[in-house]
Subunit: 330 residues, 2 copies
């Protein structure tokens, strides 16, 4: 069976894995571990646990359990002191407390949820994402970074994790043994990059003989990557990988409805291309196509950060078909 | 396979079921549904759910899942806004929200926890326990009743459920088909009696051809049943059953350590007997024996009502052996 390793965060990975799970491949999802917003942020602060939110989404995406259990994991309490908490986050955090170990918690949760494939936290070190702006101001944590409106205007001097985390050895092992490594889609600074800042991860991707695909984002985040074209994302990721490594990049060419574009124009702009070339940098193939999910999106009214979540999204099936074609499995 | 139906609440039923589950019998645990203290009380108030605490304890007692899952269900959060909540309670309450139905939540939880036997809420009506004192003062809810120090001094005029609940049809069915019905042990007014106040339950017990055993409490609760002798409990339960129905009663004769007796003397006194007769009322056999658990008891430091829980407890194995002898299975 071909081995696919995905690298990302919550929503983007959820979409991707929901599509890939329908194919006869061995799936490993490497997940970033620096979320500190919403229910996850409260749990980190109050209980001192590792961030459960992104892992939880990937577990649900790969779960083969009855629909009711999958619904339970996504359920958010709506009232009282529990309001806003995702049950799945509480599940992982309580398991971490009981086992004393986040990796074991993920394994146990995978068993309960009958997960096909595996979900691998990129690190189990307790670490935070920092972004230093060009003027020296330091943004601490994904939440603060996500909400800052000056990132693009002032410019990013550096982005780093502190304390310095250790790569999950299982993540390194899976990357080395992969046939296909799929990076993204996901928030550039807060979902994709935090994985690549973990020492050992870029090295493993370079060393692996796998094809590397990068899924271009449908939209670029206002005040963060507003001016990014597809080529800029590819170059930024390649830079973190220590040089050109991405073999191909998927790029959506179908436009969302005018309504949706207007409605979310204050948050995001469509990701454009600098040129129509079929290659970026002479070596990374651009795979253009219709990757857009045209179904309407709904979030729980208890989700306190629903407004910040994506409303223009990838269609998991369309994207998976193309990735499978790369592996010649489709 | 012989069919045993237990009737009780949380801690007493947990003990009893932990012992009975080792025998080849079909077990059904009927559980009271009027708890409103601790984590359960907060969930009822804030989320409008049915009380999960007693059901949760019985599910764990009958669960054949890995130790880690059983530990998870008993885990109490220790910090922040979640402090004091039992994870298992959140599990049942979230399942009730997702399924829209407490019975279905219990069934789903039973599946996840690989429960041997079945746990049956005595009712799924949202109801409260009321106790009217001799002076007309009305105590509302288990928690208020439990904490009142005048119950025995003033005397109980009546105890009732409001709104009037409907018996769970499955509870009635199991009682009618039982070979052995085991009532108690448990807090007299707040665990045992609330089951018998549900219309249809006493009738089913009367109508059933099962043997009925009542497990005498080890201790009598200060200010509530201080002056109760074994015979008084039996008579009080029989009265609720509409006349003499209890065939036998277990009664512990082994004394706890002096230390333990002194330490908890402000909460409870040993349950005594009015006479040494081998029969009560000429028809209920008294089964005397050593039913005492001599191992030390520990509660989670996050359990906000740990101080009110039992420290002088039944030994599940000793008690089960005697109950099995009644069925001639031991």
């Amino acid at each position: 069976m071909k081995r696919i390793v995905t690298i990302g965060g919550g929503t983007g990975s959820f979409m991707l894995l929901s599509g890939l799970r329908r194919y006869p491949v061995a799936l490993s999802a490497i997940v970033s571990m620096t979320d500190d917003g919403g229910s996850t942020g409260v749990l980190r602060d109050e209980l001192g646990v590792l961030p459960p939110g992104d892992v939880r989404q990937c577990l649900v995406a790969l779960s083969d359990s009855p629909e009711i259990l999958r619904k339970l994991m996504k359920y958010r309490f709506e009232d009282g002191g529990l309001a806003g908490h995702s049950f799945g986050n509480l599940f992982l955090s309580a398991l971490e407390k009981v086992t004393g170990n986040f990796s074991e918690a993920v394994m146990e949760a995978s068993r309960v949820l009958n997960v096909k494939g595996e979900v691998i936290p990129v690190t189990v070190s307790d670490t935070n994402l920092f972004l230093e702006l060009g003027n020296g101001r330091l943004l601490r944590g994904e939440n603060e970074i996500n909400q800052d409106m000056k990132v693009e205007q002032i410019g990013v001097k550096r982005i780093f994790l502190d304390p310095k985390p250790q790569a999950n050895p299982l993540a390194v092992e899976r990357l080395l043994g992969a046939d296909l490594i799929v990076i993204g889609p996901g928030n550039h600074y807060c979902s994709v990059i935090p994985n690549l800042l973990v020492p050992g991860i870029p090295e493993a991707i370079r060393e692996s003989s796998a094809q590397v695909v990068y899924n271009g984002n449908l939209v670029s985040k206002r005040w963060h990557t507003d001016g990014f074209m597809l080529e800029d994302y590819v170059e930024a990721v390649d830079r973190l990988l220590g040089g050109p490594r991405i073999d191909s990049v998927t790029y959506n060419t179908r436009l969302p409805s005018e309504d949706l574009l207007k409605k979310y124009a204050h948050e995001a702009v469509l990701t454009g291309r600098r040129s129509g070339d079929r290659m970026i940098g002479g070596r990374c193939a651009v795979i253009e196509g219709d990757f857009l999910d045209t179904r309407p999106v709904k979030y729980s009214r208890a989700d306190k950060i629903a407004a910040t979540r994506a409303f223009i999204r990838h269609d998991a099936e369309k994207l998976s078909r193309v990735l499978m074609a790369l592996l010649e499995i489709a």
